[in-house]
């Protein structure tokens, strides 16, 4: 036990000391943050150009409508939302107030507006491009008014202005679920898929070469005299899992911060405010950890069988392909029917992690099957860890893959 802790401490500390670890760990959140920032900037600029715009939000606006086009617009009520907007009956009164700085911008809609679609804009701010900036509020106002002017059902259908009321029943117990509830159910398995994929992408290579270092540097013999192989292998697996958890934490902190700030500032719509279901989070966290355990154990086993990092990377790439087969067969899961192929993929340990997560996302996974799936993955991981330990003990000082594979077969015979 003492040596197990020594191995874990040594492996974790030396990983954390490496600049490459921090580079890999920070690169994903930095890129993600940059992506969100760029999206937000693009959204902000677009919003400025199509809506009334925050640049004129603080100005006092006035309208003189001689065309009666705004007759359905209730200035008394709706102007409360846009407190700076007021209506004048007479153009001269409005112009006088503009000159006296009681208002900042005056929009004059002449009586021939319907024929000519011309709006006059008056302002007292001395900037060359000022009228460009002031187009947006009146455009928005006219737009709203135009919508109010559409009266017939035919016009509403043509302009897609219909109201929809959606009612969805849960497949398992027929109770009515709302959008938020669906989102809550979806978030944990969807997050598990994304995080597992990131772990495979970011740590895959590190895992695959984790066991070859001892062979390539000729340390195995010295280690075998100093500690039991089970302590080395288990210590490696646990330390790699700790490193993965640290990596995910570094990733999740900025994501959570961006999400929280986005909600607070209204960049993310309020209907996307997720209330997490703790039981669901813990269940899919268990599935994620079990899946990562399996992925780590397989990579460690590969490391015990091969002699160089290059060989290990090749084999690990093959394993990743098998593990992401459910992605390649996505339509099997989206169809919603639990076909034989779905069951095979869900219970074959290598494809089980993503299969279970996908089935959960597409609302097609009963709890009991999820529990069996997690147990299946954990049990397989322990068996692989045991095999890796035996193989390492036998193959630690042999640097030929061919011999190792031969002896691997022999090792299995020895156990029976």
């Amino acid at each position: 036990m003492r040596n197990l802790l020594n191995v874990i401490r040594f492996e974790v500390v030396r990983s954390l000391k490496k600049p490459s670890f921090w580079l890999a760990a920070l690169l994903v959140p930095v890129l993600f943050t940059a992506y969100i920032f760029i999206c937000a900037m693009v959204g902000y600029n677009t919003g400025n150009s199509i809506e009334s715009g925050s640049a004129v939000a603080d100005l006092k606006l006035a309208v003189v409508d001689k065309s009666d086009y705004l007759k359905y617009f209730n200035f008394t009520n709706e102007a409360d939302e846009e407190q700076s907007l007021q209506q004048y009956e007479e153009f001269d009164d409005a112009l006088r107030d503009l000159k006296n700085r009681k208002i900042d911008v005056l929009y004059y809609i002449p009586s021939d507006f319907i024929e000519n679609q011309n709006v006059e804009i008056y302002s007292k701010i001395e900037q060359n491009s000022i009228t460009d900036d002031y187009k947006a509020p009146i455009a928005a106002l006219l737009n709203q008014s135009a919508k109010k002017n559409v009266k017939t059902i035919d016009a509403k259908i043509l302009s897609s202005e219909l109201n929809y009321t959606t009612t969805t029943f849960d497949a398992t117990d027929d109770h009515v679920i709302d959008f938020k509830e669906q989102l809550t159910k979806l978030v944990a398995p969807a997050a598990a898929i994304i995080l597992f994929y990131i772990l495979m992408a970011v740590l895959g290579n590190r895992l695959s070469v984790a066991m070859t270092e001892e062979k390539e540097n000729r340390i195995s013999e010295l280690l075998l005299v100093s500690l039991k192989p089970i302590h080395l292998i288990t210590g490696k697996i646990i330390s790699l899992m700790i490193i993965g958890i640290i990596q995910l934490t570094i990733l999740l902190i900025p994501v959570a911060a961006i999400y929280y700030l986005g909600l607070q500032r209204g960049i993310i719509p309020a209907e996307f405010a997720i209330s997490l279901d703790i039981q669901s989070v813990l269940t899919y966290l268990a599935l994620l950890i079990a899946s990562y355990f399996l992925f780590t154990a397989i990579n460690v086993l590969i490391g015990t069988l091969v002699s160089t990092a290059k060989e290990a990377s090749s084999f690990a790439g093959f394993i990743v392909i098998i593990m992401i087969i459910p992605f390649m067969l996505l339509n099997v899961f989206t169809d919603g029917d639990n076909t034989t192929l779905v069951y095979i993929l869900s219970y074959f340990p290598l494809s089980a992690p993503l299969s279970l997560m996908l089935r959960a996302v597409f609302n097609n996974l009963p709890d009991w099957e999820l529990l069996i799936g997690i147990s299946d993955i954990i049990l397989t991981s322990f068996i692989i860890t045991h095999i890796a330990t035996r193989v390492f003990r036998r193959n630690a000082v042999d640097f030929s893959l061919k011999n190792n594979l031969k002896r691997f077969g022999k090792t299995r015979k020895d156990w029976s």
């Binding site: 020594n6 030396r14 340390i219």
Partner: protein, 245 residues
């Protein structure tokens, strides 16, 4: 556990690897406190025997015991082993690697001991240097430090002076001498017969998976008409007829 005179006992050891018999039938023992030479030409099975003794290889048949039991890292006997294929965690600092191996062997003050040793061998200033930044000779000193850091009861040195310059060779000989005087048993695998003549009490010469000579250095020399060990080695491994001791 009954304590016997012999710290190492090998009885009718046989091992087959990849369909090839490496050791046919080997029996020998090493007394506590002695320096024992395990000799033979390249590929005759010296390293395989040591690996089997340390549990790295599984014997096909026979018994290999250290301190009366099959070796395991949890054994009460403290082992220092300098393997033939030796290396270290190249991208880690000297002190981190030494402290790690010290802790694996249950040392409480592994770091302090390591710093004292580095000071002794003139590498104190390299304590925080990455191992791959050191010269080959400096790395050998680190490996030697790791081998002896737990004050071993049994020290197994597999071609310890291979690649050593005369200065490091002298340093190693001094360390072996010091440990031997403190009661440490040493098994030495080497091709340098002058080292064997100077250091070893008993020797075993392996050929074709069996012991072709085994006993005290003087007795073996007497059997070979007082030739020096170099000449005896050439006689045996130059395919001349030999009698098994």
């Amino acid at each position: 556990m009954p304590v016997t005179d012999n710290i190492v006992e090998v009885d009718h050891f046989r091992i087959k690897i990849g369909g090839k018999t490496i050791i046919k039938d080997l029996s020998f023992s090493v007394k506590r406190g002695e320096i024992f030479g395990l000799l033979g030409s390249n590929g005759c099975g010296k390293t395989t025997t040591i690996r089997a003794l340390l549990g790295i290889y599984e014997a096909t048949s026979g018994e290999l015991k250290i301190n009366g039991e099959k070796f395991s890292p949890d054994s009460s006997v403290k082992i220092g082993y300098l393997p033939e294929e030796r290396g270290l965690y190249k991208k880690e600092s000297v002190i981190d690697v030494m402290a790690h191996f010290g802790k694996l062997r249950g040392m409480r003050r592994a770091k302090a001991w390591s710093l004292r040793y580095l000071n002794q061998v003139g590498l104190r200033e390299y304590a925080k240097t990455r191992i791959d930044k050191l010269s080959q000779g400096q790395q050998q000193k680190i490996q030697l430090g790791i081998t002896i850091m737990n004050q071993p009861d049994l020290l197994i040195l597999d071609e310890p002076t291979k690649g050593f310059d005369p200065v490091n060779r002298k340093l190693l000989m001094d360390i072996i001498d010091d440990l031997h005087r403190r009661g440490c048993t040493i098994i030495l695998i080497t091709h340098y017969m002058d080292e064997v003549e100077k250091l070893c009490d008993n020797i075993l010469l392996l050929k074709n998976g069996t012991a072709c000579a085994y006993g005290k250095v003087m007795d073996i020399r007497k059997r070979f008409r007082y030739k020096n060990l170099d000449q005896i080695f050439i006689d045996i491994y130059g395919n001349k007829e030999t009698t098994r001791a």
